[in-house]
C-alpha cells in the first residue's frame, strides 16, 4: 500500500483531483460555489432579520412568491403604470441577456454546521495519520519564526484578524477566489488569488529573514 494512504501526506495529484472533484461536485449537487469565507460572514454578520427573510424567500412556494411579487409591484407603481410598462416592453424586443437564477441562500445554522464539521474532518484526518496531538503551538517551524510562546500566540491573534478582515474585504479566500474563481477565469478572483499568494510568499521570506 502506498505510504500516503495512512502515513504521509497525499501526493499533489491526489489532492488536485480531490479539490477539483469537490468544487465541481458541490456545484452539481447544490448549485453553490465553494467559498468558506462566505460561511464565516453568514455565521457572524447575518442578523436574525436577514436570516429569517432569506429563509422565508427560500421556503416560499414559487407560485405564491410570483403572485406576491406581482401584487407588491402593482401596489408600488399603480396598475396603470404597470400596464403601460408591459405594453412598452412588448413593443420593444427584449435585449437583456438571461440573468442567472437567484442564488439559493443557506440558513446561518447550516453554515455553522459546515464550519464545525471542517474541524471534525481535520481531527479524523489527523487521527487517520496518527498525528493527532493536543498541543499549544503550531509546530517547531512556526515557533521559530514567530518568537515562540506568548509572542507566537499574539502573532496568531493578529494574523487571524488580518485573515478575517482580508478575506471579507476581498470577497473570498483560497477556496472561494482560489479554487472556485480561478477555475472559471473570473478576473477578480485571478487578481485576488495572485495578490494573496504573492503577499504570503513575500511575508514568509520576511519572516525567515527576521528570524535569523
Amino acid at each position: 500500500m502506498p505510504s500516503w494512504v495512512f502515513h504521509d501526506y497525499w501526493p499533489w495529484w491526489l489532492g488536485a483531483i480531490f479539490f477539483g472533484g469537490f468544487v465541481v461536485g458541490i456545484w452539481l449537487l447544490e448549485r453553490r460555489l465553494l467559498g468558506v469565507s462566505g460561511s464565516y460572514a453568514a455565521a457572524i454578520e447575518l442578523t436574525r432579520q436577514e436570516d429569517e427573510a432569506a429563509r422565508r424567500l427560500d421556503e416560499a412556494d414559487p407560485q405564491a412568491l410570483d403572485e406576491a411579487l406581482l401584487r407588491a409591484t402593482l401596489e408600488a407603481f399603480g396598475p396603470e403604470a404597470v400596464a403601460e410598462f408591459e405594453k412598452e416592453m412588448a413593443a420593444t424586443p427584449s435585449d437583456t441577456a438571461a440573468v442567472a437564477a437567484p442564488r439559493k441562500l443557506l440558513p446561518r445554522s447550516v453554515h455553522v454546521t459546515f464550519l464545525v464539521m471542517l474541524a471534525v474532518g481535520g481531527a479524523i484526518g489527523a487521527l487517520a495519520q496518527g498525528t493527532w496531538q493536543l498541543r499549544f503551538d503550531l509546530g517547531v517551524v512556526h515557533e521559530a519564526l514567530t518568537g515562540g510562546g506568548v509572542t507566537s500566540l499574539l502573532v496568531l491573534g493578529f494574523g487571524g484578524v488580518l485573515v478575517g478582515l482580508g478575506t471579507r474585504m476581498a470577497g473570498g479566500c483560497t477556496s472561494g477566489h482560489g479554487l472556485s474563481g480561478c477555475s472559471r477565469l473570473v478576473p477578480t478572483s485571478l487578481v485576488s488569488t495572485g495578490t494573496f499568494f504573492g503577499t504570503a510568499i513575500a511575508t514568509s521570506f520576511l519572516l525567515e529573514v527576521l528570524a535569523r
Binding site: 460572514a41 479524523i124 489527523a126 485573515v163 477578480t188
Partner: protein, 137 residues
C-alpha cells in the same frame, strides 16, 4: 432542513479530512510552499484549479460568469489576507482544520478571524472609500 444540515455536515467533514491529509493543516508544510522549498502543496492547488476548470467546462455551463465590477477590496484584502496566511498558516477553512488536529493555539487565530470578519462592515462604512458591489454578502 435536516437533510440540508446532513449534506453540509458531510461536505465539511470530507473537505476538512482532505485538507488535513493533503497537509494544509501543517504550518511547516504551508511555509515550505511559500518559500519554494517544496512545491507539492502549490502543485496540489494549481492542479485543483485545473481539474475544476475541466470539470466546469465539461459538466456545467462556464458561460454563466457574473460580470462583477472591479473592487479595490480584491487587492487590498488580498494583501491583508496573504500576510495573515503567512504568519498563521491558516485561511478561513484551515484554521478549523488546525484546531481539529489538536492545535489549541489555533483558537487565537480563530478569535482573530471572527473579530476581523465582524470588523469589516463598520470599518468599510467609516473609512474605506470604494463602493461595495453588493447590498448583502
Amino acid at each position: 432542513m435536516i437533510g440540508l444540515h446532513l449534506r453540509f455536515a458531510i461536505y465539511g467533514l470530507v473537505f476538512g479530512f482532505a485538507l488535513s491529509r493533503i497537509g494544509f493543516g501543517d504550518f511547516a508544510e504551508v511555509h515550505k510552499m511559500f518559500v519554494f522549498e517544496d512545491l507539492r502543496l502549490f502543485l496540489t492547488f494549481a492542479g485543483g484549479v485545473a481539474v475544476s476548470m475541466i470539470g466546469f467546462i465539461t459538466l456545467a455551463k462556464l458561460s454563466q460568469i457574473p460580470r462583477r465590477r472591479f473592487n479595490p477590496g480584491s487587492v487590498v484584502g488580498g494583501v491583508l489576507f496573504g500576510a495573515g496566511w503567512a504568519v498563521t498558516g491558516a485561511c478561513p477553512s484551515i484554521v478549523l482544520v488546525q484546531l481539529g488536529q489538536g492545535h489549541v493555539s489555533a483558537l487565537a487565530t480563530l478569535a482573530g478571524v471572527i473579530i476581523g470578519v465582524a470588523l469589516y462592515r463598520p470599518l468599510h462604512q467609516r473609512y474605506l472609500p470604494w463602493e461595495l458591489d453588493s447590498c448583502s454578502m
